[in-house]
């Protein structure tokens, strides 16, 4: 995904560079120095972050090994893991501010007339500056106020907000360097001034709106300006303080820190790593050959192969984004070579990558479990069924859409056997993850670490170069930091929503409509589909799940079944404009315009909605 990030620069920066070059003479020496400094900073940060990820992996694998080989535990391993993850997020957050990882809603910014783009871009940078200042100032103050010592690690707790403060400072520093390198030195200085001014506004606004609503509105404005989603959430909750928010800025920062300090969430970097290493090791390609030997001879054989491979890949990886990136790298050239129009090929890849976050293991379910205290095991089992239903619906849609394409020759029994044997090592990963959890050898987080360790062994056995291994670690570390920052940034917003009792209000509203399960389910689906239009999957889960789950449980719907429906619903949002992360990733890697992909993916969207309908019917019957 970082690969796509570097290839695909954020929209307005390019537009603005064009505008700037026409208006101002180039100040080349400054720009050159800034460019080199930015590159050096980025390289240092990604190396550090990758190192932290490697230590994290050793830590979790080490504690499993100690338990089974030496019958002893590692005191404080979990807490040490959480501190390392926080460090990873702090180091990686400046890197995740550009590219698809930033989760910018740049469709509005792109539609603006040329003369408005520069101011809009400056305002968006201003949002990033406010977020960075919030972390710097709040983190520093919180560090001075905490006063506690981790009983387990014996380290002072102030280190945690301090890490976020450093991350915030680096975020602003890298923004300054990048924009200066782009020739936007003056406008970024203006952004900093605006941001600092807004941050320091000494106003006490006496309005009667709930502070959480104000914060949501502010975040929405930031999103429309094209600022990164996580920055919008942080900036909005900080700016809600004068509107009566109960969360002072230092508390906001510790809140963000504890939001991402949940042991389950440690599985995220490991699943990202496993997905990346699976591709590097060539194991993913062996999965492709197996799938091709099984379904390649059917109508639209290669598209069906894409689907089946995605399904197999899903069993080992927990990230739809990794799946989409893998599909775009492996299948896209093949599909186009075999006569699929580019947009059609990209649409198949984006749509089938949805499965990854539904079929266990799944980062979406980990987030849901962390946000709602539902059991991961139960959710994953539900996800397995849901994923199969979705895959079946997608298979039918592919069959109907691609009437004209030629099938591939049917594989012989021997070829199938050979493909199966070659793919065994990759299928073993599925066994490690799903089996490890279900047989009871390991917790989900440990299973994720085992998966990453196993994939690392595959990669080493495959003689993948040290450079490509290391770059996979860096890539996964930055992706994990982006997701982690989003989780942290959503925590203060959920705090405000909880204090204003939004869940109670929503439940009350739903009950006033009669409160039958059908009505509740229908309403929730509408809310979720609408949220999926503009919100990232992770943020939507963290913000909405606790609120909607309360209504669903009150209406007598099984919380786990509802959780599965919620995730499926939001995953569909990954394919819809304006924010469709899966479309963006595929677009970034293949060069097909997002606009065309959104159109081509429509039949698959319809198929997934049919799957959603089936799941909802099942929820009502069960």
């Amino acid at each position: 995904m970082t690969a796509s990030g570097s290839r695909r620069r954020s929209g307005f920066a390019e537009d603005r560079r064009g505008a700037e070059q026409r208006n101002a003479p180039s100040d080349a020496p400054w720009r050159d120095v800034s460019r080199r400094l930015a590159a050096a900073l980025e390289a240092a940060l990604s190396t550090f972050a990758a190192g932290v990820l490697a230590v994290l992996l050793v830590l979790v694998l080490g504690s499993v090994a100690l338990r089974y080989l030496f019958s002893t535990g590692l005191v404080g391993a979990e807490e040490a893991g959480l501190w390392l993850f926080l460090l990873l997020v702090s180091l990686g957050m400046p890197l995740a501010a550009s590219g698809p990882l930033a989760m910018r809603l740049d469709l509005v910014a792109r539609r603006l007339p040329q003369r408005l783009r520069l101011p809009a871009g400056m305002a968006a940078d201003g949002v990033t500056v406010v977020a960075g200042l919030t972390l710097v100032a709040g983190g520093t103050d919180a560090a001075g106020l905490m006063g506690s010592t981790s009983v387990v690690l014996g380290l002072p707790d102030w280190l945690r907000p301090a890490a976020l403060a450093v991350g915030g400072g680096l975020l602003i520093a890298l923004l300054l360097l990048r924009r200066t390198a782009e020739g936007l030195g003056l406008s970024v200085l203006l952004s900093v001034l605006i941001g600092a001014g807004v941050y320091a506004l000494p106003v006490d606004y006496a309005i009667s709106w709930p502070p959480s609503l104000v914060a949501l509105l502010l975040a929405g404005i930031g999103l429309l300006l094209g600022a990164p989603l996580a920055h919008c959430l942080l900036a909005a909750t900080a700016l809600a303080v004068p509107f009566g928010s109960v969360l002072p800025v230092p508390a906001l920062v510790t809140n963000a820190a504890s939001g991402l300090s949940r042991f389950l969430l440690l599985a995220i970097p490991f699943f990202l790593l496993a997905g990346g290493l699976l591709t590097v090791s060539g194991a993913a390609e062996r999965l492709v050959r197996l799938a091709a030997s099984l379904v390649g001879h059917r109508r639209a054989g290669l598209a069906q192969t894409t689907l089946l491979t995605s399904l197999l890949f899903s069993g080992a990886s927990g990230s739809s984004v990794a799946n989409a990136a893998f599909g775009a790298g492996t299948f896209y050239p093949q599909l186009v070579k075999n006569g699929y129009p580019p947009a059609q090929a990209g649409a198949v890849i984006a749509a089938t990558s949805v499965l990854d976050n539904v079929i266990p293991p799944s980062i979406a379910f980990l987030l849901l479990a962390a946000a709602t205290d539902l059991s991961v095991g139960a959710l994953l089992l539900g996800g397995a069924y849901a994923g199969l239903v979705m895959a079946a619906c997608l298979a039918v849609a592919i069959h109907l859409v691609h009437r004209g394409t030629d099938p591939m020759p049917r594989a012989t029994g021997q070829e199938r056997r050979r493909a199966f044997l070659a793919a065994l090592s990759a299928l073993g990963l599925v066994l490690v993850v799903v089996g490890g959890i279900r047989i009871g050898l390991v917790t989900p987080t440990e299973a994720a670490a085992l998966a990453a360790g196993y994939a690392l062994l595959l990669a080493v056995a495959h003689r993948s170069g040290r450079a490509s291994l290391w770059s996979t670690f860096r890539q996964s570390a930055v992706e994990a930091a982006a997701i982690g920052l989003l989780i942290g940034a959503a925590a203060p917003m959920t705090f405000l929503l909880a204090v204003d009792d939004m869940a109670g209000m929503v439940t009350g509203f739903v009950t006033s409509l009669g409160g039958q399960a059908v009505v509740v389910l229908l309403l929730c689906n509408l809310v979720l589909l609408a949220a999926g239009l503009v919100l990232d999957i992770g943020a939507a889960i963290l913000l909405l799940a606790p609120i909607l789950l309360a209504s669903a449980v009150a209406a007598g719907i099984d919380p786990v079944v509802f959780g599965v429906i919620l995730v499926v619903n939001l995953m569909i949002g990954g394919l819809t404009p304006p924010v469709g992360i899966l479309i963006f990733v595929v677009s970034g890697l293949t060069g097909v315009e997002a606009r065309k992909l959104f159109r081509a993916v429509t039949p698959y969207l319809a198929a997934l909605l049919v799957a959603l309908l089936l799941l909802c019917l099942a929820a009502l019957v069960l």
């Binding site: 010592t149 002072p248 389950l264 917790t443 009792d501």
Partner: protein, 307 residues
């Protein structure tokens, strides 16, 4: 305008739902304060842990986002390590023993230390005794040898179960059911009411009434909130909270009895520990390891000999 200016809003965090003692105690405090000081406070009691776990809530109290809550002493020992005295295993004989200790000079000293760290504590509370829960019957400590034990992340707990030869593994409470069901862990310890609350009797059918640790806690108010009260108001809040602490203890005791009944109705086997001296011997290693932290061996001796 002047009336509303004197109304102070409090965000109060509760980890559990409306029907649990953890929330009921705050509804009681809210109601009693409304009688004594009408219109003075506006409570926002946020339930089900929506404002975060215990440590997050305690951080929030210091940083000004949360004004009051309950907390176990384990969590607050991040600020006041001496509090671990109350967590020492097999030190407290029963609820009355604990109550006498926290009501005496030792309790006053701990309250003082908490106040110095920003937590104003009107009174201590008692969550009930922690018992041993296992997939197989365990009545003697040697039966724990080599078993995987789910523990909370605390050196005190880890040390205790290691002393009996168990392998401690840290698992979040929400994943504990799965871990025990699948066999990642063979045993754990918990209070009876939490045990029933998480329906753990489905996966750990043997409860041994070891009562090794009395899980104690406090009702606390944030210093910043406390400083906004007049001397008279502080006296009233203290009085109301102290009364609520006893109410909480009574609710908890009742909840404990009901939980044990519920568990037994669900096929749970309740056992009594054997070889009590062997259990206590293991616990002594924890006392020794923590005696300097809790204020010296004489403090432990004072507690032990408190009538």
């Amino acid at each position: 305008r002047s009336a509303s200016a004197r109304t102070t809003a409090l965000a109060v965090a509760s980890l559990l739902g409306d029907d649990k003692p953890e929330t009921k105690v705050w509804r009681r405090i809210e109601a009693r304060l409304e009688e004594r000081l009408p219109g003075r406070f506006r409570f926002r009691i946020v339930t089900n842990g929506a404002l975060g776990g215990e440590k997050d809530v305690a951080d929030g109290a210091r940083l000004g986002s949360i004004q009051a809550s309950l907390s176990t002493v384990s969590t607050l020992s991040a600020w006041v390590p001496e509090l671990q005295l109350l967590d020492l295993p097999f030190l407290f004989r029963d609820a009355d023993h604990l109550r006498r200790v926290v009501s005496g000079p030792i309790g006053d000293g701990l309250k003082q230390r908490l106040a110095e760290n920003g937590f104003v504590v009107p009174d201590f509370i008692d969550y009930g005794a922690r018992h041993l829960l296992a997939k197989e019957a365990v009545t003697r400590p040697d039966q724990l040898q080599g078993k995987t034990m789910r523990v909370i992340q605390s050196p005190l707990h880890t040390k205790l179960w290691s002393a009996f030869g168990a392998v401690p593994v840290g698992i979040p409470i929400t994943e504990t059911y799965n871990a025990l069901a699948t066999g990642v862990a063979d045993a754990m310890d918990l209070t009876a009411s939490a045990y029933a609350g998480f329906k753990l009797f489905e996966v750990v059918p043997y409860l041994t009434k070891t009562a090794h640790i009395r899980s104690s806690g406090v009702i606390f108010f944030a210093e910043s909130f406390w400083n906004s009260l007049t001397e008279d108001e502080r006296a009233i809040v203290t009085e109301v909270s102290a009364e609520a602490a006893l109410y909480f203890n009574a609710l908890m005791e009742q909840d404990e009895a009901e939980s044990l009944e519920l568990a037994q109705a669900n096929g749970e086997t309740v056992l009594l520990p054997e070889a009590l001296s062997a259990w206590q011997e293991g616990a002594r290693t924890v006392w020794t390891a923590f005696e300097e932290i809790v204020g010296g061996p004489q403090v432990i001796e004072t507690v032990r000999t408190t009538a």
